[in-house]
Structure formats: structure tokens, C-alpha cells
Symmetry: C2
Subunit: 637 residues, 2 copies
């Protein structure tokens, strides 16, 4: 088949978000997360682990003396913060913040070397080792993040200050790496999708070509990482094994890959870059690989919450269907990256299944990463937590039972921040003839074809969504009908219509008049979910969800020993709209369940006695906001 | 209460074992395991990891040149082999083997230093570091094992050759360590129980006193291991943390301990030594600690198979009720050690609950360590095995799905060998007035009070046991009624009797006439077992057992994806006496079960469909004898 990008994501500047669910989250990011992260980057938070990230740029610029400090990829913290700031400035103009960003960008410019090179670790600490350890040292990764920030800052403010810096940097990369140039691939993918973003705003073909080079060079023989090790003098940053090829998806050419392997964030960044490249280059083989990898993840390697990367060992994908709920990794960043991948797949072919996964990530796996106060963050998102085990026993050390404040490796919080602030581009897609609503984000959006649409919804708590068309225009208004929804209706100007449902979208193709209304009603009955019987961790268990929101059971509502609870198949699931005040009034789901109670013996011929136990489930993303205690998504049926 | 040893274990020389179940196992050990291990110790097995254990003694004796090779505790392999040889000579006199043992003992004598010191690692490799690293270097551990071998060889043959060597060694230890002498405790307990064995055959009080010293010094302040580190010059064998105190049960005085912690083999050897000391010294506080530790293990930390030590991290006990079936450790040696502990507790107070655990270990956790051909051994005894996961994924590397041939750290095979060959002392207890049958070991036993009893049984496959009394004597014949048995009857000379049942033993107090018969009939219905609801790993699951034998489900009988199988509560368990030929004809248990089958989706609102599935369970100890594949003890109900 021919591959052609069918949709653009919405231009965030043309979307005013006014959403009961997401606006407070965005406000949390703009008002709490971004200022807090700024303090962290400037080493102004007493007691927090020193970041030194901005100081590294000062030292690299020669304006300060001192040593580089932090992770080899410390620069990327600055980049991700700047990217979030850019989106934040769209949501909420802030002259002071913009001036601070401009000042930081000036500093970055001064830290850049004359040829465009930009990396404070190498400039300050290892100037003679540039580009010699791509496997371990994240130069291309950091550059990629700063390119993303540059594109975002340009899109948000129209300013080319950071864009000029990063074009110069990207030009250096493009002049250095490629066929008939120096060979190289990044250890941590990111540059590919970043160069594609730069290509999209500049139209400069060399960025696309170099992205394509990095993608297609990956997994080829001889193993680049082994080659670069041979060329070095024994120096190594992490002492990684260059032959651990699956870890960095370097085990075979990307177009031949069919199973998601290795470090999950690297993998999903790679797949995102592959989809970007396929959509812009028309490379059908590349797109087929994207589809295969998507299917493998979604059909065999994804938690019901959207979490991907089941094992802490390499923060990686495991074998198919091996999805332990307690040993889990499911990094927040990996869910963010999966949302990236989903958006790219939607741009190539607007299919509801991509929007379904996008929603799953947004309302579950991503949001669970952030405390409701915006001040604490999960890196790992477990589906079962047991105090005394989680975060305590050696195998479970990584599974923290409560969100900690900040990490030395601060990748997840800014990733959540940039995702949440740029939500508009995930909600809306467009092309010359159509507007696509992938989810029901409240507010008003203006599209390149002239369409203006206002959305009012109380999603995800209510399935009633009202659109008002604010312009006279002919276009197809395509609205996603979620895969989880079995009963829905749609009316135009109050009259029910039965439009075509194609690939998970209803297609309303009309000459619209200003003031036309479209009302969508999605049945929001709580649902029981069963895992494939290949998933041994979930055998005999059921999970519950309502709309896109997966629920979980916490000790705070259900007492301890959640493994002794059962939700019989016949038990009615009831939505309590009064909700849980301590979690911002979110609806809870209740049911008449059972608790098994045994005598004192460790083993007995007497089966445990069954007692009635009222069960109460809260949205998974909100777990861990009421102190410690057990938590389970999958409950015995 | 007053503590007094109420029973002696039977003198093995006075028991002729002729048992349908155990005699073939003993033959396997005498005819296969012991000769094989001899070849290993002599480095005569092509392809096997080099042992060098006997060569180390040759080098230490000065008769060979070369370097020490192997684990720091390599000497203990020789000791455990000699101990098994001793028991084997009781079972099956063998002049050639005895001559070989004598020759090896002579070599050991020549490797001993003039003051009695015996350890080839230190003699050969680190002569200036003797006794300076008790935490890590296993000197007292190796001595303990050689003392056990010496006592056993003396008991088996009447020869004092090894006993004299080890008395000299023990005298050195007793003269060195103690109150007002040099302070010290072993890192790996073993010397305590060994000195108690030596005390019992020699009557020399100093051995008991020094055992008591090592026991009571443990866990006291200041931390001995930290002290000895300070005295060294930075040298360390394993670089263990002296402050990891629970690992070696060094966290508090043993009389104050109430939860089994740390390395499970060390712990159970310690508790065995504590029970030995309590029984011989009358130390009631020590006995109370034994009872508390016993209760903690049996009520909260033991697998249904008798396995103890749930985690690979430190090969250790975990937290209460945390008994994962797949991540499990449950080392074979730990089950052997638990049988030691049980026998000592029986000697102090003959209570059925101790005999129940002894049986559980013998028929399950210990025997599962050995392949049915006696040639391959498990170190780790899992209760759930999944190919692709077990032995493969990083967290599961230690859980081998099939028994490997031999280990560099060869502790388990000889431990099984010495246990199986010395079984008689576990089966029978005696004192001046009574004979106790803890289990129903076929053969003839003569007791110190003159009683001679012949036992005929097909246990554990049949519950019919016939005893013939072969002497005229008045004594109490106490026969264990297993805790798992709810229906039983007993008759004397064909007439049913209703004797007192006390602490799990029926007490037949009579003037016996030669030719009297006692017939015991134990109902052997297959049983369902349920775990305490605190055990999250077993929630919703059932295990099955018949008599003392726990059963399991293997892929070989039930197909793959055992987690999708269910054994409904109403399903009849049927014993198929025809049995499984490939496992030596053992009875299997069948039931009409169910298999859940789902569609292709990873998550679905459709519950899995249920299909009828005939289930077939085999004895747990025999698992893994028919090629690879899944295995589960706990099956969903």
C-alpha cells in the first residue's frame, strides 16, 4: 500500500483548552510542576538532589568555572523543561517565564561550540571524546530533546532563537553522520523523531534524510556499538555490553523488527521516529514494521493501564504475555512515548484503535505518574502494591509504594509535563477536508481548513459531549467512538443521525452552519475486563474500567489483604457519582464483593470462609494519594 | 518447664530397612550418587566442573604440589561424602568402599596440622589468616561437617580413625574459643550441632560447652563480625557486609529470636544446634526460642512442600507469608536442615506436629532435589515453573526448569545422600520405656530396651501398615497418626483397639508377646489444601496431597498454560493406582477440571470460555523427570 500522512495533529496555538478534567491538570503543570522543576534545575530546592543542569551550561559557556555534574544526559532535563515551558506559554502567556526561557536559551547558545556542537558533558569534561561513545553517552539523545524544545518554542512563540541554535546543531549532525559520511547510531533513540519534527517546521530535506539514515542504519552489520568500542582506548561511561543488542533495538534492521524488545522508552521513541519517517517519506516497509511492532505491544506486551516495559531489568519489554503486576516496571516515560507513537500512527491512518490506546495512556499509564498535587512522581507504575514487599524486598526495590519527590534521573516528571501541556495536538487531527476528534477535549479549536469547533464535555466522567460548529464550512467532522463503547448515539441539531462508522470514527460530512450542534452520547457503564489466558499473572482475575479510566482497589477503601477479596461475576458494579473527596471528587465504583478469611494455619483442608465485603474502586491514575497501603488493579473474580 | 530429652533416635546399625519406597532411593544413593560423587571429588568426571576437593587435601598434606582450588568450603564436600559413605556402609557393607574411605581418612589425618587445625584452604593458601575471617571463610563450618562425618563413621564402623582426627580438631576449637578465651562465632552455623553430636558419642562436656558458647555468643554486642573486620588488614574473601546481621542470624541473641531470618540453611542448622543443646543442657530458654522459631517457620514461612527460604536474595527467609511459587528459592539443603531440626524437636518432645513436618520434608521438599535416576539435582525447588520465564528472565535465573548435573557449590546432592542413607534415625525413636514410630519405614528394628519390631508397609502409597513384635517385652509402642489423617483404625492381633492418642501418637502400652501384630490403617483419600489468606501467591488456588505426598500438575500430563486450568471445588479427586510408568509407576490423581480459553485480544470484556479438561497430578518430588515444560503445585479452584 501507499503510505501517506492522512492527518496533521492540531496546531496547539489554535486550541483553547477549557476542560473539566484536563484544565486543572494543565494548571498543575503550569503553576506547580514547571516552577518546581525550574527551581530544581537551578539547584534552589533545599534537600533535593542537586541537578546542576543549568550550571553545567554556565560552565560550558565559560562564564562559570567548575566541573560538570550529573547524569551524562543531564542537558536533556533542561531541554524537556524548555519544551514544557513552550507549551505552557500557549496555554497561559507569562512574560516573566518567557523572558527566563529566552535568557536560558541565550545561555545555551553561548554554551554551543562554534561548529554547532552542544553537549555540556563533553564540552566541559571530555572534549576529546565527542561522538566516540554513541552507545552510552546520549549526545544525540540530548540534541534530540533540545531540537524538540526548539521546535516547540518556535511554534509557541514564533521566536527562532532556540531553533537557530538547534538548526546549527542539527546541521552538524547531518554533515557528520550518514551514508558516505561517518557511521553512527544513537544508543538511546530520540534524534530520529526530533529531526523529523525539525524537518516538518523547516522543510529541509536533509533532516528527514538523516533521520532515515539513523533509522535504517540501526541493527545492521557490523554492530556499530562494537565497532566504536574497538576504536576507543578502553574508556567507557557505563561499561555497557555492545552485544546486548536487543536492549537498544539494535538486533536487526528496524524494517525487519516484529517484536518490541529492550528498553521500552528507547523502543517507543524509535517506533515514533519510524512512524514519522514512514509518513513523510512514504516508506511502506517502514510503516509495515511500525504496524507489526504496534500489534506486538498492544496484543501481547501492554498492561491494561497502558503500561509498557514489564521488567526492571533493562527497563525493558519482557517476553510476550509476561506482565507481572507486582514486579512490573511500566515506566511513566514509556507510556508517554507510547502516546507519541499512537499519535503518529493516527496521523498516517486515523483508526480508532490508535485513539483507544492514546486514551488508555492519557487517562491511566501517564497520569498515574503524577501525584494529584503535582509535586511527586512515579517512575514505575505498578498494578499491585503490597507494603513490606513493594519497594522493600530485593526483587521489588524499584516498585515504590508511594510517589517520591524527585529523581536524580529526572526523566519522567518533565515528560508528563510536556505531554499534558501539549494535549491539544493529541485530541484533534485535521486535513484539508476533515477534522478528527480523537478524544473529547473541552474548549475551542480552529483548524487550518477554517472550521471552528467548540467542545463541551465532562469526559471521562460523563459520556455526553456537545460540539458547536462556529463557522459556515463544508467538511467532514470525524468523531472517535471508543472501542470500549458498545452503545452510543449521535445527533445533529437535536436530531439523531446514523452516519457511517469507519475505522472507529463516525464521519459527519456536511455543509455546516454556524451554530450547528453535534451531540454525542456514549454509554459509560462500568465494564469488567479479562486478560488473555496467556497472561498468567491475571489468571482468574478481573479488572474494572469505566470509559477510558481503569479503576483499582486500594487499602484505603477496602482494608488490607486485597488478594483475599473477590468480585463475583454476578456482582453489580455501581457508579457512585458523589465520588471520593480526597481524590478531587472522582466517581468511584462500588460492588458487593467477598472477602475470604482463613483460620490461623498456614495450610488447611478447610477452604477459607467467605464474608460479604463492600468493594470500592477508584481511578487507577489517582492511586497512592491517600497514604500508603495495598493496591491492586486485578481482583479475583 | 523442665527440658529433658525424651527420646533417642534409633541406632541405625540396629535397623534393617526394607521399604518399597525408600529402599530403592537408598540403593540409588549407595549405587549411583555415592560412586558418582566419589568420581567428582577425584576429578574423574569428564566435562564436570573440577572439584579438586581431594587434591586439596593431598596438597595440604605435602604429598602433592599445587594450589588450592574451589570454594573456600570445598573441604565440606569431602566431609559430607564421607558421612554418606558411613551410612551407606550400614545399609550395604562394602569392603572396597570402606578401604577407600579409610585411605581418604588417612589422607585427612596427614593434612591435619600438628595442633589439630584442619582446613585445606587456609593450610595451603592463607596460612597466616587462620581464624581471622570466621564470617566468610567457613573454617568452623568445614570442621563441623568433618566432625559429623567422624561421628557417623565411628557409629557405622566402630573405627575411631576419623573420630580421633576430629576430636583433636575439636579440642583445638574448644581450647581457642569461649568465655575468657578468644571470641568468635561462625558465619555459617554447623559447628554447634556437630559438637553436640561429638558430645553425644564421647560424653566430653567441653564439646557441649563450646557448642553452647557459639550459640549464646551469637547476636551479642559488639558485633563479632564487625570486630574481626577491623582487626584485618583489609583482606576479605567475599566482601560481605558484617552489618548484614540477619543474614547469619547474628541480629540478636539466639534465645531472644522469634522469627526465622536470613540464609535458610544457616538458620535451620543453627536451630538444630539450639535444640540439641537445649535437650542435653536442659536450657529452657533455649528450648522456648526453638519452639518460637519452629512456629514462625511452620505457621508463616514454609511452602506446602516443606520448602523454606523463599527468596534467592541471600538464599533466605523472606517476610511472613511471602511465599512466591515462581520466584521461590526453597533450597534442597534447607529442607534437609529442617528435617534435622524436626528430628531434634521430636527428641525433646515426641509430638506429632514435628513428625508431620519431618514427613513433609522427606516426601516432598528433600526428595524433589534428586532426579529419579540419582544423577541430577535441584538446588532450588520451585512450585511453579514456566519455560521462557524460569531459568531465563533475570529475576528467575535461579529457578532452573530441569535438574542440572552437578554444581560447583555442591552442597545439595551430598546433603540428600546423607539424609536418605540415614533415614532409619528419622523413622524411629526410643527411650527406656517406649518405642516411637514417627513414620512407617519398612524393615526390622531392634531397640536398646530389647524390643524388636518388624514393619511392613507400602507407605506412602497405601495407609495399611503392619507391625510384628518379635520379642517378649513390656513397653509402650507409640505410633504416629499423621496430622493429615482424619480416619484411622488400629488393631492388635486382629482386634480393633482404641488406645490413647496423645500429641499425635497412639500409645500401645502392653506386655508384648513375640508374634503380636499391630495393624494400622490410615485413610488415604486425596486431600485439597488451601493456603492461609495472608499468602497472596496462593489466593484462589488449591493444592492436592495424598498421605504425606504433595502432588503437582505438569505440562506432560495437562498441556501448557497451567494457569488457565481450574480444579473446581466439586470435582472428584480420583487415585489412579495404575500410576505413571515413566515415574516408576507412582499413583497419579485425576479429576475433571476446566480450562479457560480466551480469544486473541489481550484484554476483553468477554470472560474466557470454559472447556472441560481432564486433570492429572503426579507426586511433586517426581516432577521434572519427563522433559521440560510447565509445572504448578497450586492450581486455581
Amino acid at each position: 500500500m501507499e503510505v501517506k500522512k492522512q492527518l496533521h495533529s492540531a496546531d496547539m496555538r489554535n486550541v483553547k483548552v477549557k476542560d473539566g478534567f484536563w484544565s486543572p491538570m494543565q494548571k498543575l503543570v503550569t503553576d506547580v510542576v514547571i516552577p518546581y522543576q525550574k527551581s530544581i534545575l537551578n539547584d534552589e530546592v533545599p534537600g533535593a538532589e542537586k541537578s546542576h543542569a543549568i550550571e553545567n551550561f554556565r560552565i560550558a559557556s565559560g562564564e562559570q568555572t567548575g566541573e560538570f555534574y550529573g547524569m551524562v544526559f543531564q542537558d536533556s532535563d533542561v531541554a524537556k523543561w524548555l519544551e514544557a515551558v513552550a507549551y505552557s506559554l500557549i496555554l497561559k502567556p507569562d512574560e516573566k517565564l518567557e523572558a527566563e526561557a529566552d535568557s536560558l536559551i541565550d545561555l545555551i547558545g553561548r554554551a554551543q561550540e562554534p561548529d554547532g556542537y552542544l553537549n555540556t558533558f563533553f564540552s566541559v569534561k571530555e572534549p576529546d571524546r565527542k561522538w566516540t561513545d554513541l552507545q552510552e553517552c546520549h549526545e544525540l539523545y540530548c540534541d534530540g530533546h533540545m531540537i524538540e524544545a526548539a521546535v516547540a518554542y518556535y511554534q509557541a512563540t514564533g521566536k527562532t532563537n532556540l531553533l537557530d541554535i538547534m538548526k546549527k546543531n542539527a546541521d552538524l549532525i547531518c554533515s557528520r553522520f550518514g551514508k558516505d559520511k561517518v557511521r553512527g547510531i544513537p544508543g538511546h533513540e530520540e534524534i530520529e523523531l526530533a529531526l523529523m519534527r525539525l524537518y516538518r517546521v523547516t522543510g529541509d530535506e536533509k533532516y528527514k534524510e538523516t533521520a532515515g539514515y539513523f533509522l535504517n542504519e540501526r541493527g545492521t552489520e557490523p554492530n556499530y556499538f562494537a565497532e566504536e568500542v574497538k576504536k576507543r582506548d578502553g574508556w567507557s561511561y557505563w561499561h555497557m555490553d555492545p552485544e546486548g543488542r536487543e536492549y537498544a533495538q539494535n538486533h536487526k534492521p528496524v524494517k525487519e523488527q516484529d517484536k518490541a524488545v529492550g528498553h521500552a522508552v528507547r523502543a517507543a521513541y524509535l517506533y515514533t521516529g519510524m512512524a514519522d519517517y514512514a509518513s513523510e517519506s512514504g516508506d511502506a516497509e517502514m510503516y509495515e514494521a511500525c504496524k507489526r511492532l504496534w500489534r506486538n505491544i498492544v496484543d501481547r506486551q501492554m498492561y491494561v493501564t497502558g503500561g509498557i516495559g514489564a521488567t526492571v531489568h533493562g527497563e525493558a519489554f519482557s517476553i510476550d504475555y509476561e506482565l507481572p503486576n507486582d514486579l512490573v516496571y511500566a515506566e511513566t516515560c514509556a507510556s508517554v512515548a507510547m502516546a507519541f507513537f499512537a499519535r503518529r500512527m493516527l496521523e498516517i491512518e486515523p483508526k480508532g484503535e490508535y485513539a483507544d490506546i492514546l486514551e488508555k495512556e492519557l487517562y491511566n499509564g501517564i497520569l498515574s505518574g503524577m501525584q494529584l498535587d503535582g509535586k511527586r512522581f512515579f517512575y514505575v507504575n505498578p498494578l499491585e502494591v503490597v507494603p513490606g514487599v513493594s519497594g522493600e524486598l530485593p526483587e521489588y526495590k524499584h516498585v515504590l509504594p508511594e510517589r517520591p519527590g524527585w529523581y536524580a534521573c529526572a526523566c519522567c516528571p518533565p515528560n508528563v509535563a510536556r505531554l499534558v501541556t501539549s494535549l491539544a495536538q493529541y485530541a484533534w487531527g485535521e486535513n484539508e477536508t476533515s477534522v478528527y476528534a480523537h478524544t473529547y477535549l473541552g474548549g475551542q479549536a480552529t483548524f487550518r481548513n477554517g472550521a471552528v469547533i467548540t467542545c463541551e464535555s465532562a469526559y471521562p466522567w460523563s459520556g455526553s459531549v456537545k460540539y458547536t460548529i462556529d463557522t459556515d464550512k463544508s467538511f467532514t467532522f470525524a468523531i472517535h467512538i471508543p472501542g470500549w463503547c458498545h452503545e452510543w448515539s449521535i445527533s445533529v441539531n437535536g436530531a439523531e443521525v446514523t452516519p457511517e462508522l469507519k475505522d472507529g470514527y463516525v464521519l459527519l460530512d456536511r455543509s455546516w452552519k454556524a451554530g450547528d450542534t453535534v451531540e454525542l452520547s456514549l454509554a459509560m457503564e462500568p465494564r469488567r475486563l479479562y486478560a488473555n489466558t496467556h497472561v498468567r499473572a491475571d489468571a482468574g482475575c478481573v479488572a474494572i474500567a469505566r470509559g477510558p479510566v481503569v479503576y483499582c482497589f486500594e487499602q484505603a477503601d477496602n482494608g488490607a489483604q486485597l488478594s483475599a477479596l473477590r468480585l463475583p461475576r454476578a456482582a453489580q458494579l455501581t457508579v457512585d457519582e458523589k465520588g471520593e473527596e480526597r481524590l478531587g471528587g472522582v466517581p468511584v465504583i462500588t460492588a458487593e464483593g467477598e472477602r475470604e478469611v482463613s483460620g490461623g494455619a498456614l495450610y488447611s483442608e478447610e477452604p477459607p470462609k467467605t464474608e460479604a465485603a463492600p468493594l470500592r474502586a477508584v481511578p487507577y491514575y489517582a492511586w497512592g494519594n491517600r497514604g500508603g497501603g495495598e493496591m491492586r488493579v486485578w481482583i479475583r473474580e
